[in-house]
Amino acid sequence: MEPVPANSPLSQDTVDFEALRADFPIFAAGSQPLHYLDSAASAQKPAVVIESIRQCYSRAYGPVHRGLYPLAENASEDYEGARQTIAKFINAGRAQQIVFTRSATESINLVAQGWAEPRLQPGDEIWVSRMEHHSNFLPWQRVCEKRGARLRMIPLDGSGRLDLAKAEGLFGKKSRLIAITQVSNVLGTINPIRDIVASARQQHIPVLVDAAQSVGHMPVDVQDLDCDFLVASAHKMCGPTGIGFLYGKSDRLAETEPLLLGGGMVDEVDIDGSSWADIPARFEAGSPNLAGAVGLACAADYLHGIGLQAIEQRVGELARLAYERLSKVSGIRLYGPEPGPQRSGIIAFNIDDIHPHDVAHIAAEHGVAIRAGHHCCQPLMQHLGVSSTARASFNLYNNEQDIAALEQAILDTRRILGQG
């Protein structure tokens, strides 16, 4: 491993992250350098993940749980093997606690409609936070409206952290579920999930964790968190699109009704009534996404091989450096907490009165890919008093040059459109 130059502003890594960049073919694909700072929307894929999907389709493809010949048996084994990999990756006690879905979004909808809706009574409360992604807001809003329950919101303090002291009734008698993100996709705030679950546990209130921005970015241990449900998407953790998962405590999954009915999820079907298959098959109607599961498991193995703690530290360092550099730009407003252990690699910002679309467009002309918009967080935007922001988000393949390019793009944006 090449030593890190002594003058590098990044701390010495035990992993050679610069070399890992070569694992991602996208960075060699174009004629211009790509500064990809939109990983919070979707992460790039390492060659091993792409190859695992190719191998699945070209050498080992067959129907899952539906055939008696070797190809089909192998496909079933690969699919269940992927489940075991994901269970280990988040330290679930049993592989059967992992349900494959299309996405974190689908996982939340499954819990909202399959678990919460049948047991919610008028006057009950479901709690979310002000920083939730629409996918951890709308499903709860709908079930509350349907059942006459009340959707409540944990407010934020001025720095973009949860203001639990002001969330009166969060752990109260009416609270039926707390659905909360582990990492904000806008503010980068890392929420104190363990503490929230510990307090909720005393009042027997279940907790669902939206881990879309945390799984694959930092060590996530569902037994340590002690949460009832946890959801994530593969594509945000260097895996393929179209697959995600739901983790649930066994008793909670047993209480959950399936949303999709069809092939593969039944025990017996009779004209007078039918019974469901065991968990998790009960929640996976239709032919399973074998290649997706294989790709997801491969991504988990890849990230595990690097080390989640090392990734978290590297991305944290990049975010700290970016925060420091950007905070010196005149007219910039950075959202979310100061860099530190409670902050991930996501930085949302605005410059003067310049529209985020213009920032992102000029950045794109510099080969810098950032996001601009409300980031599916309109309640949070209202809290911040803006309609949209620009957002740069970091992952393990980013480096100091990406930060320099972003900084240059922002300075150019000011020069062209602002008072800069």
């Binding site: 529209h355 985020p356 679309h357 213009d358 000029i362 002309e365 510099h366 409300h374 309609s387 459109l417």
Partner: protein, 145 residues
């Protein structure tokens, strides 16, 4: 900055020094165009006398492209007869939606052409034009009464 930049001098001039921008309280008719995806909103107001657009003004919030497009639109459209204005709006929407069409319906609108290569920003350009089209749609039935 690449030479394919959409931030041409003409657009920047209209962004920094917008024409016909301000309050619309005194305008005869006001219609709004909005883009819920980004929260942008443009209101276009018109004053119409004897079948002609005596004044066209706008206000609102949006990106530089959105505001520049609105400003350029008001310049091109002011003073036209309703039928001419409608022809220009239709012609603009057709030209803007079709990258193969070389010539814009008014030479002063040519700088907006590069944005045709950026589908995510087309709505920014069209916001003001859609609001104006609504004004015109509203005013023509009134004229027949």
């Amino acid at each position: 900055m690449s030479n394919t930049s959409v931030y041409k001098a003409v657009l920047l001039d209209h962004f920094h020094n917008p024409r016909n921008k301000g309050e619309l309280d005194a305008m005869g008719m006001v219609r709004r165009g909005s883009n819920p995806r980004c929260g942008d909103e443009i209101e276009v107001g018109i004053d119409c006398h004897n079948g002609a657009l005596e004044a066209v003004r706008f206000r609102g919030r949006g990106c530089s492209i959105c505001l520049a497009s609105a400003s350029m639109m008001t310049e091109c459209i002011s003073g036209l007869q309703i039928a001419q204005a409608r022809q220009l709006v239709d012609g603009f929407q057709q030209w803007f939606g079709n990258s193969d069409e070389a010539t814009p319906p008014h030479e002063n609108l040519a700088a907006l052409g590069t944005i045709r290569q950026h589908p995510a920003r087309k709505k920014c350009v069209l916001l003001a034009w859609q609001a104006l089209a609504e004004n015109l749609d509203e005013i023509e039935p009134r004229k027949r009464e």
